[in-house]
Homo-oligomer: 238 residues x 2
């Protein structure tokens, strides 16, 4: 059978795109090239800054992201995964503009949390935090969101994310690990890594602990499950 | 300025595609997302085996590769890099079917060799070796190609490459490192890693030595140089 073609809206940042594609490959049961999930990717990083736009300090990235979605449609994608948490602020607008189903990374991450977990930390951009992309969904599911205080969010989380984006992956990871420890001290039982730059940073700093929930990985696994459904079956339920 | 959009013909295998994109990112002087090379990628791994086709044991991968090139054209690519050495057996046929310039990975690797190097080992698929993709170009440049004997090519090189493709990256790298040592014993001063699965394998096995010439990296660097040319300048020389 030919698996379904996944479209990857990337470039936000470029390293996160590669990390997501790598996680799709790792999550796929395969013994040869032809068993893997087919992907088309648009990693065009010339997209206005997402956090700045959410905070009212810059132009909307939506037109550039819709341009990326058009590239994926023309390339033959049958669904879309967005390798950037903050971009999900514009999820409804993007979904309204395409016939292709778009996965929501926060839903994919939250559905992996164990029953009984009550306090969930969030390591994410200032834009993702202030937009409530994770917190709103955690609250709806009966859990409490634990977020960094403003000083940590600025110095450790955004400092770490920007270091990863600039290529200083391990140094960024060290900052992010300090932010994770602060969330643990505030009672977080699990920590959602809700920015695609966070997992490669923590991994490079050897700080990817058991309480970390890698949202990129959760999205990748959901995409593999989707791609591997037999097309004939998929048409029956569509 | 907006850099030019690179098309990545991938999926052969999927991990090699990610490794190539990662090397483009690493080779780019960038301090923020927007400084990076825009890429569209077609990583559709349902392509018939390239080595089998070259050896007359299977169908041609050319139609599937041309389908990937069409996806890249429709996605807005302005040139094409192929993240698979063996696929370059069909380079002329592919270039004849697209207006976009296609980089040749072997030319990009060979142009990085230091003056005075006379004996160059090749770690590549049986298809790449038997087709002379590297050897013909090395000979034309006045160098001698050093290739594994048939037993090593089969057990160590193809065994290692297939292990990497199946996800056993470090185990594959151990086999490839043994093959590299055999080439050194035969007098190779440099060893071209002429299959995209070889560099991640050797890196995972901690066997990426100074005499190794990573063809994937050479291709990535050439692509970054191309993408970063100002479009106005590029039009003048086109």
């Amino acid at each position: 059978m030919m698996p379904r073609i996944l479209g990857v809206l990337g470039g936000m940042g470029p390293l996160a795109t590669v990390d997501f594609m790598d996680k799709v490959i790792s999550a796929t049961p395969a013994s040869r090239d032809q068993d893997h999930v087919p992907m088309v990717a648009a990693s065009v990083p010339q997209v206005p800054d997402r956090t700045a736009a959410i905070e009212g300090d810059g132009p909307s990235p939506l037109p550039a992201m819709l341009d990326g979605i058009r590239r994926l449609e023309r390339g033959g994608a049958e669904s879309i995964a967005i390798a950037c948490n903050t971009a999900h602020y514009w999820y409804d607008e993007m979904q309204a503009e395409t016939e292709l189903p778009i996965f929501h990374i926060a839903d994919m991450a939250i559905q992996t949390l164990d029953e009984g977990v009550a306090h969930v930390g969030i390591l994410a951009t200032a834009g993702t935090i202030s937009a409530g992309i994770y917190a709103d969904r955690l609250t709806a599911a009966g859990m409490a969101a634990v977020v960094p205080d403003d000083a940590d969010q600025n110095a450790l989380v955004m400092g770490g994310i920007n270091a990863v984006k600039a290529g200083d992956v391990a140094a960024g990871g060290d900052l992010l690990a300090k932010a994770a420890d602060a969330l643990r001290a505030k009672g977080a039982e699990r920590i959602i890594l809700g920015c695609t730059e966070v997992p490669p940073g923590l991994a490079a700093a050897d700080e990817m602990r058991d309480d970390c929930v890698d949202a990129t990985d959760a999205l990748a696994r959901a995409c593999v499950d989707w791609a591997m459904v037999d097309k004939a079956d998929a048409l029956k339920t569509a």
